[in-house]
Symmetry: C2
Subunit: 210 residues, 2 copies
């Protein structure tokens, strides 16, 4: 099956804006996270190979490699989020005429809900990774393009906050209390850590623009 | 000339992540703003025509029309941001051998800087419009998809903050003090208003998810 990233940007926007439920908030957030990561990658690429930044080159090369892995992972997760939605819709269509059917449907529903919560949580973790890399690059990346590390930081934090709304939707319907408690705790940690990293990275960027 | 939105999503991300300076932070922010707007549009589309939301249909139709105008405008502004960058590069290449050449280059540079500041300011204004529409839709849009209005709000605010970094870069180089003062004031107003609208829209979305 072709990937949603094969669509032109215009086509992607058109289908996202339409009444088709996919791509929805989860996959759009993952793409937004990819765009954030692309800015970190661009600034790393504009730093590597420049005489002026020779001293930081080994670290910037490492950042470059890691941000490329972030982008590849977000591409997979965009497709996975769309697939989860399809799975969920399939479960909704399961019959519920007999007690046995009802029990099977309810069990499958709990599985689907957990899976549809794991994916946005993983997207948020990868967005946090992008923020960590933006933070590392903010002080050492090419000054002539450093504002784009700030773009990456603002946009990655928003992608993280946005995708966690999918977690907020699903948790009230999940009956496994231990799972819910752990997911909530991780959600809160991700939000707090992302805000901290964004503020730090943007402050460093602003100081280097001044 | 073909538009950058004609690229596939994958190609766009690849060129954004490369050492090619365009698409840079300004145009990526505009695309991020378009993705935010697409989520507002999707929820409006999922509300119109539903019996349950008949009472709010006239207002939701109005929101839908306005968010579609936002998306069309952001597509134009993405291309314009890339064009501004090219113009700026042309000015940098102007000769500066004689006093006359230097004066002409300096004057053209001031023009180019103002133009390269007006475009991100306009992108930020359009992102604010998207936030206003997200806020209007948050209380009345289809509850089954309302989290995606929250996605739109988070992402539109980030696009606005991100694109204003381009304003921050240019202002210190602009000599027209009245222009600088006005741009700074508008910048600060946009940031404050965007934060307010995002917080309001997300709070309403969260209350409807609970």
């Amino acid at each position: 099956m072709s990937h949603v990233f094969d669509l032109s940007v215009r086509e992607f926007l058109k289908v996202a804006a339409s009444d088709s439920p996919t791509p929805g908030g989860g996959s759009v957030s993952a793409l937004v996270g990819s765009l954030a990561a692309s800015m970190v990658s661009m600034v790393a690429n504009l730093t590597v190979g420049k005489e002026k930044y020779k001293d930081v080159e080994p670290e910037v090369k490492e950042i470059l490699q890691e941000i490329q892995a972030v982008m590849a992972r977000l591409e997979q997760l965009t497709a996975q989020d769309i697939k989860e939605f399809g799975n969920f819709m399939e479960v909704l269509k399961m019959p519920k005429n007999t007690e046995e059917e009802k029990a099977l449907r309810a069990a499958k529903m709990q599985e689907a809900l957990k899976s549809a919560t794991d994916t946005p949580l993983e997207i948020a973790r990868v967005c946090l990774k992008a923020l960590e890399l933006a933070d590392r690059l903010s002080g050492i990346g090419n000054k002539g393009a450093i504002s784009d590390v700030g773009v990456g930081a603002y946009v990655a934090e928003a992608a993280l906050n946005a995708v966690l709304l999918s977690v907020d939707i699903n948790l009230p319907m999940i009956k496994d209390e231990a799972y819910v408690a752990q997911a909530k705790a991780e959600r809160d940690q991700l939000v707090a850590r992302a805000r901290e990293l964004k503020e730090k990275a943007v402050a460093v960027v602003q100081s280097r623009l001044a």
